[in-house]
Structure formats: structure tokens, C-alpha cells
């Protein structure tokens, strides 16, 4: 295929990255590392879009721009999340996710 690298290779990488991100989300106890896991997830999605665009549908730039938008949104999300995390830190004096469970049941 393109430049000798099969499409599936990219997809395997991105899929693994996606699930590693999810694993991180599920297991890290620190809110910021959870946020980083999300970045991993979004990054893997970006790879997908880009690769599909390049390999399969190069006649348009849909995947490409999708990735761009995702990057921008990831930034926005991170901004708000970090703002809230700082707020949490002020309120809880900790950014341990386990401690943020005042509301339950």
C-alpha cells in the first residue's frame, strides 16, 4: 500500500493506543493523568482519521480536517478540565479522583 506500510499497521497502533488511553483513564488516580489518558485517546482517533484519509480517500481532506478540529477541541477540553481541576484542588486540597466522591448512591 502506501509507501509499503499496510493500512492495518496504523490501525493496530491507533487501536492499541486508544485502549491504552482507556486503561489509563480507568486506572490512574490522579485527575491530571486521567486527562492525559484522554489525550491519548483523542490522539489515536486522530491517527485513524488521518490514515483513512491518506490511504483510502485522498481525494478529499475530510479526515485531515477532522483531526485538526479534534486537536483544537482537545485543547479546549483540556483548558476547561484543568481549570476545574485547579478548582478541585482548591476545594479538596487534592486531585485524587477517589476523593472526589461527595455525591453518590
Amino acid at each position: 500500500m502506501h509507501q509499503g506500510i499496510p493500512l492495518h499497521y496504523f490501525l493496530i497502533v491507533s487501536t492499541l493506543m486508544f485502549f491504552i488511553g482507556i486503561f489509563g483513564f480507568l486506572t490512574r488516580r490522579n485527575l491530571i493523568t486521567i486527562l492525559m489518558s484522554i489525550e491519548l485517546i483523542l490522539n489515536s482517533v486522530n491517527i485513524n482519521f488521518v490514515v483513512f484519509n491518506r490511504y483510502l480517500f485522498p481525494h478529499k481532506l475530510q479526515g485531515h480536517f477532522f483531526s485538526m478540529i479534534v486537536i483544537a477541541i482537545a485543547a479546549a477540553e483540556a483548558a476547561v478540565a484543568i481549570a476545574i481541576i485547579i478548582n478541585i484542588y482548591r476545594n479538596f486540597r487534592s486531585i485524587e479522583v477517589g476523593k472526589v466522591d461527595e455525591m453518590k448512591h
Binding site: 486508544f18 488511553g21 482507556i22 483513564f25 485527575l31 486521567i34 486527562l35 484522554i38 485517546i41 483523542l42 489515536s44 482517533v45 485513524n48 482519521f49 483513512f52 483510502l56 480517500f57 478529499k60 475530510q62 479526515g63 480536517f65 477532522f66 478540529i69 479534534v70 477541541i73 479546549a76 477540553e77 476547561v80 478540565a81 481549570a83 476545574i84 481541576i85 478548582n87 478541585i88 482548591r90 476545594n91 479538596f92 472526589v100 466522591d101 461527595e102 455525591m103 453518590k104
Partner: protein, 474 residues
């Protein structure tokens, strides 16, 4: 493309204009006049609401990324109505001393989410859809975390933003698969190329999960109650009604126009999720003592009912869903309006605090009862019609057992609604909530809700209009 074409985007443009003007007014007004920004924005939004009903051209813009139709405009107008009520209801709270420095920002953020929803509903491709979705979600997190001095508010904010990020990650992964297997992100092209290949199914399910988060379907619902409880009441009601309504709108639009070729699949999926959502939502709602939390779980159960309309896949189904959302906006905002009014005056939101409310605040109690009955689907209030039409549409697809499960769930839900009614009307209380009178805005909001709850069922024109505009899978 010329300027008149842009008028097709009137809803979004006006809202953006409104948001910007509020921002500018807020910046421009001196500290003495800042309190004027709120009423002015209210009035401006009301004007916008009215303008929304003026006829507008249907059409497609930006190469198919944006499109409107009578149906979509109707949905936007419905959201506008709800938005207006939320604005009215949060007025009292915003005027409080604690929010002095961030009054109008609240409206701006809310407006931003509404713009996002409008774009989302109007989207013609997954990119705009995703963008709208995020625009409708990210500022929400900021709104949920609006109250600084409350840990719960921050907690709600972080839970919302993180889970929403996760869900949008999963949704995006699904979208990437959809893109990869169909070669396009445009709805009409995706529709043409979609079949039930496993990878496409996988992509669809990831997409479904992402939407499930927005509509709070089980098992993607767990954030709901915590966020609803922690967020300010206005935000909660907004989340539970407008946000959810918009998500349902786009969800049903996408299902009915894009994934038509795998309708058998999403119908089965919806069946399972509907049963789970109704049942789990109700089971959790049963033992809630906090009104906001109770309404949160009830709104999960209501989402399950909404799926009953979606599953039909017919014009009837869509009409029922839209009608139900409209009714639901009035009913739920009525209930939240009462909760907000009481919270604003007393800070109380536990069911036990409501004991004997009827004797001190009869009108609020009556409205609360009406709203709850409407939520439960009891005649003659509008909720009855809404629910009945949903059941009808599910039955039209032959899903009689699903209808049965749903109606049984409606009965269970009646139980906890009645618990609230019981608290207000029957239970005795030595220290009931003192009689108080609310602001004119709160009253106006509640009045609109009451009118909606009472009249919507009998005023058949509304339903017929919706029905006329609705579409089904052909």
C-alpha cells in the same frame, strides 16, 4: 453564497450575536449598571425566541455541512422555549451576591451551548455534529462547576468534563471507523455506503455509546445523578431538559436519516438499552431523598421512554419523540423551577423539607404535583399524551412487550413521584418551609410551565404540526 443565504442560519447567527452583545454589554457597563445586563438579555432572548418562529427558508449551506428544514427549525424553537424558561428560572439565583462577578457570563456560556446544540441539530456531516456536540458540552462543565464555594459544584464539573471527554473519545473512534468504512463524513454519503459489516456495526455502537452519554442511557448514565446534584439548579434543569432534548433530536435525526440501512440493528440495541434505562433509572430513583437527584434519575428513566419512540423508526415515532420532549421540557422545568425557587429561598432540596409544603406554599405544591403527574404520564396533563404517543409509536412497530415493560416502569415511577406529592400534601411537618413569594421572573417561568403542562395535551395543533414535519425511515 450571499448574505441572504446566511439567513438560513438565522437561529445560530442571532444567538451568537446575542452572546457577543451580552459579553460586550457586560464589559461596557460599569459596576453600577451590570445588574441591568440580566433583564436586558432576557428581553433580547425573548425577542430572539419570537423571531425564531418567523418563517425562514430551508436550505443547505457550506457544501452540505449545515442544513435546515421545517423540522429542524421546530426543534430549535422548542429548545429556545426551554432555554427561555431556564433563563427565567435562574434569574433569582444569578442576582445573588455570590454571583455578583459572574452574572452575565452564565448566560453567555448557556448561549454558547445552545449555539452548539443548534449547530449540532443542523449539522449535515459528522464534523459539524461533533463540533456542535462539544460546543454544547464543554461550556456545560464550566457551568456545572460554577459555584466556587461548593465542593459539589466542582465535583460535578470534573465528573462531567472527564466522562464527556471519554465518551467523545469513544464516539470519535466510532466516527473514525464510520469514516474509514464509508469514505465520507457527510450524512447522505454515509447513508448510501452503510451496511452491516462488523466494523461498521462497531463504529455505530461506539457512536451510540457516545450519544448514550449525552442522553444518559444506561449504562452510560452514571455521571448524571452526581452532576445533576452538584450543579446549580439552573444548570441541572438545563442539562436534564435542553441538553438532553437536543441530543435526542440529533440522535433521532441521525438514526432516521443516516443509519437507515441498519435499522434492525439499532432497533434491537435500542430495545435492550430502553429496558435497561427505564428499569435502572427507576430503581435508583426509588430511594432518593434529594429532589435534584430524584429528578436526575427520573430523567434517566424518561430517556428510556424516549427510546420507545425512537425504536419505531416511523414518522409517528419521531413525532412522538419531539412532542414528548416538548412536554418534557415543560414538565421537568416545572419541577425544577419549584426546586429552584425553594432552593433559592431556603437552600433546601431534600424531600423531607418539602413535608407540609402545601399548607404554606399551595401554588408551588400544585405546580410541583402537576409537573410530577405530567412526568408520570397521568391525565389530563400533557405528559399523559406524550407518553401515550410514545407507547403508541412503539406499539406501531409491534413492540408490545416493550410497551408493557415501559408502562410497568411508568407505574414504578409514579411511586416516587407520589412520594413527593405525599410529602407536600399529606405529611405533617412542625417546621414547614415558610411561605414566600418569588421573583417575577420565577413566577413567569413557572406560569409558562403550568400553561404548557395543562394546555399542550388538549391543544392538538401542536402535535399535528410536529407530526406534519416529522419524518420516518422510508
Amino acid at each position: 453564497m450571499n448574505l441572504s443565504d446566511l439567513m438560513i442560519m438565522r437561529h445560530e447567527l442571532l444567538l451568537t450575536l446575542l452572546a457577543v452583545s451580552i459579553l460586550i454589554m457586560d464589559l461596557g457597563a460599569g459596576p453600577k449598571h451590570r445588574y441591568l445586563v440580566l433583564p436586558v438579555s432576557l428581553i433580547l432572548f425573548f425577542v430572539n425566541l419570537i423571531i425564531g418562529f418567523l418563517p425562514v427558508r430551508e436550505g443547505t449551506l457550506f457544501g452540505g455541512m449545515y442544513h435546515t428544514s421545517g423540522l429542524i427549525i421546530l426543534m430549535k424553537n422548542i429548545l429556545n422555549i426551554g432555554f427561555f424558561i431556564v433563563m427565567l428560572q435562574s434569574f433569582t439565583w444569578l442576582k445573588k451576591e455570590e454571583n455578583k462577578l459572574k452574572m452575565s457570563e452564565f448566560y453567555v456560556l448557556l448561549l454558547a451551548t445552545l449555539i452548539g446544540m443548534n449547530f449540532m441539530i443542523s449539522s449535515g456531516d459528522f464534523l459539524m455534529f461533533y463540533l456542535g456536540l462539544e460546543l454544547a458540552t464543554i461550556p456545560m462543565a464550566a457551568l456545572a462547576a460554577y459555584v466556587h464555594h461548593q465542593t459539589r459544584s466542582a465535583e460535578a464539573g470534573i465528573k462531567l468534563i472527564l466522562i464527556s471527554a471519554l465518551s467523545s473519545g469513544i464516539l470519535l473512534f466510532g466516527l473514525s471507523m464510520i469514516y474509514g468504512t464509508t469514505g465520507s463524513i457527510f450524512f447522505n454519503e454515509v447513508k448510501a455506503a452503510y451496511s452491516s459489516e462488523p466494523l461498521q456495526v462497531l463504529g455505530f455502537i461506539f457512536f451510540f455509546a457516545g450519544m448514550g452519554f449525552k442522553i444518559s442511557l444506561v449504562p452510560f448514565h452514571l455521571w448524571t445523578a452526581d452532576v445533576y446534584e452538584g450543579a446549580p439548579v439552573g444548570v441541572t434543569s438545563y442539562l436534564s431538559v435542553i441538553s438532553k432534548g437536543a441530543a435526542v433530536f440529533i440522535f433521532i435525526l441521525v438514526l432516521y436519516t443516516v443509519f437507515t440501512s441498519i435499522d434492525f440493528l439499532w432497533k434491537d440495541l435500542t430495545y435492550i438499552i430502553a429496558v435497561l434505562t427505564m428499569t435502572i433509572g427507576n430503581l435508583f430513583a426509588l430511594r432518593q431523598k434529594n429532589l435534584k437527584r430524584l429528578l436526575a434519575f427520573s430523567s434517566i428513566a424518561q430517556a428510556g421512554f424516549i427510546l420507545l419512540g425512537i425504536i419505531a423508526g416511523s414518522k409517528l415515532g419521531m413525532a412522538s419523540v419531539i412532542y414528548f420532549i416538548l412536554v418534557y421540557i415543560f414538565s421537568n422545568l416545572g419541577a425544577f423551577g419549584v426546586v429552584a425557587a425553594i432552593h433559592d429561598h431556603t437552600g433546601k432540596e431534600s424531600m423531607d423539607d418539602y413535608n407540609g409544603l402545601y399548607h404554606t406554599n399551595p401554588r408551588l405544591s400544585l405546580l410541583m404535583m402537576l409537573s410530577l403527574f405530567s412526568l408520570a404520564g397521568i391525565p389530563p396533563v400533557a405528559g399523559f399524551f406524550g407518553k401515550f404517543f410514545l407507547f403508541t409509536s412503539a406499539a406501531s412497530g409491534g413492540y408490545y412487550w416493550l410497551v408493557f415493560i415501559a408502562v410497568l416502569n411508568a407505574t414504578i415511577s409514579l411511586y416516587y413521584y407520589l412520594l413527593v406529592v405525599k410529602a407536600m400534601f399529606i405529611n405533617k411537618n412542625d417546621h414547614p418551609i415558610e411561605p414566600f413569594s418569588s421573583d417575577i421572573t420565577t413566577r413567569l417561568g413557572l406560569l409558562i410551565c403550568t400553561a404548557g403542562i395543562v394546555a399542550l395535551g388538549f391543544y392538538n395543533t401542536v402535535y399535528e404540526l410536529i407530526n406534519k414535519l416529522s419524518i420516518g425511515i422510508n
